[in-house]
Structure formats: C-alpha cells, structure tokens
Symmetry: C2
Subunit: 481 residues, 2 copies
C-alpha cells in the first residue's frame, strides 16, 4: 500500500493551492454546525513515518474550526496510567462526543507497533464497534520517501531551535526506513475495511497532501451527514465458545447454610481472599467482578462481604446507574472502559454493561438492532480484558418472585431501609417474566469460558454471599497457580 | 504534636471493642443517607508513619458503607501525568461530589514531603477553599512508636506472602524515625486550622485507634449535617499586589490597523510565536491564556489566529459553557483545575472561572457571600499556577454597545452565522451596564502582577487580534529569557 507515485510533480501551483486550502478550511468550519446537528462523532487519526508532517496537517485541518467542537490528542508516548491498562484504554477514554471531532496525532496503530504487539484483530474489532455505534472513523497515513525523510530530519537537526526534536530513535527509524515502511504496509493492508479504510497520502509536496486530506475529510463528513456514517455491521460475526447455562426457572433456590456454618466459612474465605488479593497486587493481575441480579436480590450485601476481605487501596466498587448526558453521547461501553482497573487492582461493578440487553432492551431505550449486536460486543469487550490478563467473573444473583415480594415489603416497612425501594422497583417487578426471558438469553449468549456467568442462588442471603466469596477465591487460586 | 501516650494499655476489652466498632460502622452507614440529603461532600484523609495501619483503618471505615457514596484514592506514588501538573492537581481532580465521601490513603501532605517541598501556605489555602465551599475535611495522622514500627515491618518481612511489601525505603524511614516524626510534627503544627484540624491517633493498640477514628468521623458528620461543615471564611484574607486598571469606559476604542499592516504584522507574530511555542515545549514551561469579553467581541477569532501559530499537539482550547450537573456538584474551580495544562503545553480558555463574578453574580446563580470570596480564590488559583512556573495572561476583549449591536444584527442577517446568536445574547445586552460594573470590579480586584488582565480594544477586529498575538509573544519572550 505504500508505493510512491511515479510522477513527482506538484498538482497545483502555489497560489491556486493556497486558495483551495483556504476554501476547504472554510467549508470544514461550516460543516461543523451540521455535524453537531446530525450528532455524528468523528475520529480523524494521523499516522505516518517520522517527519511526514502529521502535526502540520492537523494544524491545517483545525485552522478554522470552532474549538468547542474538536479536540486534538497526542498519543505518541503512553503515560504511566496507560501502561497499566489494556492497549485500547486511552483511546476509549478519549472518544469524542456525538457531533464532535477528535484529531489523533498517532493512534492505536502506533501504540501497537511501539509495544511490539501485533494484535490486528483487536484493532479491527475496535473500529467495527465504533462504526456500528455511528462513529465516523477517518484514517490517514502520511508517506514520504527515504531521501525526503533524511532531508527533513537533517533540516530539523541543523536548526538550533529545532535540533532537540530529532532523537536518536528518529535516526534509527530512518536507517530502518525500508523495514518500517514494510511493517506499516502490512499493518495497513490488514486493517483496511470498507467502513474505515486507510487513506495513504503521499506528503512530499507542500500542498497536495493537505488538499487531499481536507477534501477527504470534507467529503466523508458530507456523506455521513447525508447518509449516516458507514457501519461495520456486516462484518463477519465472531463466535465465542459458550458455556451451557440452565434457564433461571431451573435453578434450585432451596440451598441454604446455617448461620454457624456461614460464620466459620465466611471467616476462612475472607482470610484466603485477603492473601490472594495481596498476591494479585504483587503479580499485577487485574480482576473484574460483575454483579447483576433482581432488585433486592442481595448484590450490595454480597459485594460488601467480598470487599471487606480486601485492602481498600486495591479495589474500587463502581456503582452503575442510568447513564448521564455525557455518557449517552458516547459509545455505551465508554463508561465501563473508563473504569477498567489498573493492573493488580480489582474493579467490582455493581450492575454492568449488561443493562444494554436488560433494562435498555425492555424499556425500549435502545433499538433492537443495537441491543442485539451488544451480545457480541460485550463478549469482545470481555475477551479483550482476559487477553490483557484480567480475571473476569460475572454473577447473576437470583431470587424468586415470592422472595422479592417479601424483601420489598420489608424495605417498605423499615424506615431506615425505605430509601432503597422506589416506584421503579415495583414497576420492574411487574415485568418479571419479560426480564426473566431477557436474562436467560443473556446468560445463554454471553457466558464464555474466559468470562463466565455464575448464577448465585440468592433466596438464602448467607448461602449467596458464601457462594460469591468461594467462587472468587477459587478463580483467583486457579489464576495464581 | 506527635507525643506518645503515657499509659500503654488498651482502653477497651477485645469483645467490647469489637461490638463498639460494629455499632459505629452501622451508624456511619446510616449517616450516609443523611449526608447525601444534606449534600455535604466529605474528604477523609489518612497520613501516618510507615506501617501505622492506614489501609486497615480505611477498610474499617468503609466496611458497611454503600459503595455508591464513597471512593478510596490511593495517592502514594504520583503518576506520570501528576508529575507534569501542579502538586495539588490530582487532589483537585479527585474531589468528591456533594453528599459523597472520598477516603484518601495519603494525601497532599505526603506529596509535599515526598517532593521535598515545604509549601505549607498552599495547603492551608487549598483546605480553606474547600471548607469555604462546604467541604468537610477530616484529617487523621496515625502515629506509632519506633519499636512498634520495627516490629510491624519485621513481621511483614518475615512472612513470605507479605515480604515484598517492605521496601528498602521503608527500612530507611525506620532508621530515620526520629527525623521523620519531627518533620511530620512540624508540618502538622503548621496546618492545623480550626476548620480542618488534625486528629493524631496513637495506633499501637488493635482497637482503640479504630474506635477513635470512627467516632470522630461520625461526630463530625453529624455536626456538619446539623450545622453545616465548618467554614474557613474567617481566615485572614491574603492580599495580592494588584495592577491599576482603568475603567472600561475610559478605554480608547478608536485604535485601528490597516489590512495591509495587519497582514504583514500577523505573519511576523505567528512565526515568532511558533518558535517560542517550540522552546516552551522543550523547557517544559506551561502557559495558561484566558479569554473573556462581551458577546460578539471577537474572542473566537482572536483565539483562532493565535492557535493557528501553534503546533496543535502542544495546546488545547477549552471552551467553557454553563456547568454540567457533575460540575455543579463540586467546587466551582474543579472543572478548571481539571484542565490545567501539562508542563510545556498551552491551555487556552474560551471563557473562564471569572464567570463566577460575572454571569453567576448578575444572574443570581451564586449568593453574594460566595462570589465576593471568589476574587481572592481566583487570585490564589492563578498564584498557584504561576508559582508552579506557568505563564498566565488574561484578556478582556472589549467593544462598545454600538459595535455589539452592529455585530448582532450582522449575525442575525447572515444565515451561516445565525446559530451564533441566541435570545440569551440579547438578554445579556440589556444588562450591559450591570455587566460593565461587574467587569470593572473584576479587573480592579484580580489583575495581579503574575496574572495580569489585558484589555484588548476590539472595535477593530484586526487590531484586537494583533494586540493579542503581540502580548502573548512578548510575555513568552520575557519568560524564556
């Protein structure tokens, strides 16, 4: 993909080119308003060989833009926080809002090359997920020849004001020009889907590349406003090895434990988890624990018993409620990605991304085309976490309808618990059967080997808490072996 | 302040102590709900000598709490992002929401000791600002004797599961016990105001310290709910050396520049700024540029001319609109602190924290007691930025009422500009005189030597843009000398 053109002559005369560029910059500024109205989020990323002119092209792209609608992200060097998260984490965190534009100086591509990883599949999945969610993803690769690279590096090095910009690494890259160009060419070829294709720009001439980039951005935005951004939905669905799950109605809720046995076992499990937590921290293994379940099923109590066994500096409980305005204006996984734990840390999600296929599905907040796709997206999200090295466990805390009624009534009648019960809880209860079917489908479609669902029999609270602790303890033991 | 008690005997018997602790944990959980209703944000910070039991005390504090209402922050080691910002930056970013609680394992005190800084004044200002804004700040220092420290470190070191936790630094701290204890004692004595006093806890006994901490937290929260958190308002007002500012009505708005002179000067200024920007980046000098001005005064145009001279990877434009729900639920400076630039980077604020004493004052969004205090708080904020090493410039882009009318009318009549003008702009215009008086007061009270206001004569847009660029260029030249 990285061939240089046969003819090395500028397409445009200097004055003509400058006028064209000015015109394009004005057009882009005018398009910003329509983009905002169309609520399309746009990501424009620039990759390229060293000294190929990324910075100056970004400057020319934003020249006339209203700063309220874009943000430039420089992602060349990962921060210490980035290094403790999955590769894509910083890019998820920086996703633009609907109607806004992110310009990336280097991107996940560079990160992967820098880290010596070659996870093309992960990139393709990421971009498909973005496009499926309505993001317009524009990718530019700026290409220059070896001679031109040398000339530019030398010019920077000769000027005392800029010489510090040219590092030993840059010269090494120059020496490895051929090999680096080949590596990039390979990567580009493997990451070139119709919905997020590469635009390789020959950027030796002063104006031609700029005109090409600005024209491409303008046309893509115009098309997206007229027809919507291209979606990746038709991409081949990946299948995940699923664990068989019994329907909820078959779950035996008669399991119990005596308070005495509970007390003894709880103490033992907590002591073990405490020790395992310390080992995880040391070995930098991240853990993601997810809790879902019926209202009043006892998620909170189970989470409290579990977390009280842990050093509070090593875990976070992330309560998940209805999304805020800022969260709604981004990919629905954004707020969960943001809370991915550091390595060696534990994130406990009190409700999760699975709201997508439960409340959002049943209350009609999300159209079918979107929540149906979510099973795969969530499997992919969790696969990425486990590939990164995380332990992922998902608990469905289960009770039956009678037990729920008993607990609701108890909450209503106990003054200090009354705040826990709302009108909404009663409304949800009326839809029990619909929810049960949705949960059965969720369990069947998203219980993967690496990120399994564990149904917790919750009619007996003590039994449920113990099962959660035991399951976590066992999973950590296996991982630490 | 760090004396050990005379009598080394536990106050409580084991079983009694355990019951008391359980009771206190339940009380704290019950208080959480009232705290939320009272909208009081709470910060509980734990400092202490090594192995004094901070982690375990935090664990006991949160044992029964609803995770939706608190967050634990471990701030022992600064991240690479922290290191590129003012010392207090990470703590500002982590401020809890109203009605919620932050528990800090180490804090700004440790950061200052770690960095070898001794900026007691900065800490006192920070805590006063928090208390003035309604934060309840609880500070615990856990103290143990040298022998006990040795015993604890040895115990950790002897256990293969925990030996890795004891670092060479810990043993060094043990050897330097006396000196470290003295350093802390000094720091504590100097940072012990009535509204945020230290609670020094002798934490050698297993239960006594816990009971003391939990009781203190409970009592402080109860008192704050009943009477409001203690405020620091009565603290002595610091005075800043102010620059004399002419009232807006005396500004000569007849300044102009010919298009030809503008074109030539603009090009020269941009070239110089480009070079200076590169030097700033290299020398890691941060820059904060603030833009305020009448509606349609030309802030956007000036910002665009300025930023087009800069490498887009080295600056951010931060547009400031009405605060979101999350922003309103924290200290009003929070959203600006979050956007403090990295060293070597430039932050351009399109509207600023001065909204506090303009729109918030005049529309009655903020009571007088609060916006009156804001002049000092903003001077303090900017003083912290400049002490950190930042260049801070504040521009008031000024036009007269006739010029504004002309521009409003032009916007209304030009289809592609119409979105820029709203009903609110017309309403604000009616309050011109009130705004003018507020701006005059603002300029008079907050134009400090380190962070001066520059009034830009804006009736001639070209002149205004040029003045902005020239002022920035000169300030950078001075700083880089």
């Amino acid at each position: 993909m990285l061939q240089s053109p046969n003819i090395h002559q500028p397409l445009y005369q200097k004055e003509t080119a400058k006028d064209i560029i000015k015109g394009l910059q004005r057009e882009l500024a005018a398009l910003q308003q329509s983009l905002r109205n169309a609520k399309i989020p746009v990501i424009v990323l620039f990759e390229g060989l060293d000294a190929s002119g990324k910075g100056s092209l970004i400057a020319k792209t934003i020249a006339n833009l209203d700063p309220r609608g874009y943000r430039v992200h420089s992602t060349d060097v990962p921060t210490s926080e980035d290094m403790r998260r999955p590769v894509l984490w910083p890019f998820w965190c920086d996703l633009p809002l609907q109607g806004e534009m992110s310009l990336l100086d280097r991107s996940w591509y560079n990160r992967i090359i820098r880290l010596g990883q070659d996870d093309v599949e992960m990139i393709n999945t990421f971009e498909r997920q973005l496009c499926d969610d309505g993001y317009l993803v524009l990718k530019f690769f700026l290409n220059i020849g070896k001679k031109e690279q040398r000339k530019r590096l030398q010019k920077l090095a000769d000027n005392p004001a800029t010489s510090w910009r040219v590092t030993r690494e840059d010269w090494q890259h120059y020496l490895d020009y051929r090999q680096r160009a080949d590596t990039w060419a390979d990567l580009l070829t493997q990451t070139n889907p119709s919905y997020a294709p590469w635009h390789v720009i020959w950027n030796e001439e002063k104006y031609d590349g700029t005109i090409e980039v600005l024209t491409t951005i303008r046309d893509a935005i115009q098309t997206a406003i007229a027809q919507g951004a291209p979606t990746g939905h038709h991409a081949p669905l990946e299948s995940f090895p699923l664990l068989p799950m019994a329907p909820l109605d078959d779950v035996d809720l008669s399991c119990t434990v005596t308070p005495e046995a509970y007390r003894i076992a709880l103490k033992a499990e907590k002591a073990k988890i405490q020790e395992l937590h310390s080992q995880l921290y040391r070995k930098k293994i991240p853990v993601v624990l997810c809790f879902e379940g019926w209202d009043a099923a006892g998620k909170g109590g189970a989470i409290r018993r579990l977390s009280s066994a842990m050093d509070p500096r090593g875990f976070d409980v992330i309560p998940v409620a209805a999304p805020s305005k800022e969260e709604l204006a981004r990919h629905y996984l954004w707020r969960f990605w943001k809370n991915v734990p550091k390595d060696g840390h534990i994130a406990i999600f009190d409700r999760t991304w699975y709201g997508r296929v439960m409340v959002e599905r049943l209350e009609g907040f999300t159209p079918a085309s979107r929540w149906e796709r979510a099973y795969q997206e969530m499997n992919e999200f969790e696969a990425e976490l486990t590939q990164w090295g995380a332990v992922v466990l998902k608990f469905w805390v289960h009770i039956d309808k009678d037990e729920q009624l008993k607990r609701f009534t108890n909450r209503q009648e106990t003054p200090e618990k009354r705040y826990k019960i709302t009108e909404e809880d009663w409304r949800n209860r009326e839809k029990w059967d619909a929810y049960r079917m949705a949960v059965d489908e969720m369990l069947a479609k998203t219980s993967t080997e690496n990120a399994p669902w564990i149904v917790v029999e919750g009619n007996d609270k003590l039994y449920a808490r113990l099962k959660v602790l035991r399951t976590v303890r066992q999973a950590l033991e296996v991982r630490l072996q």
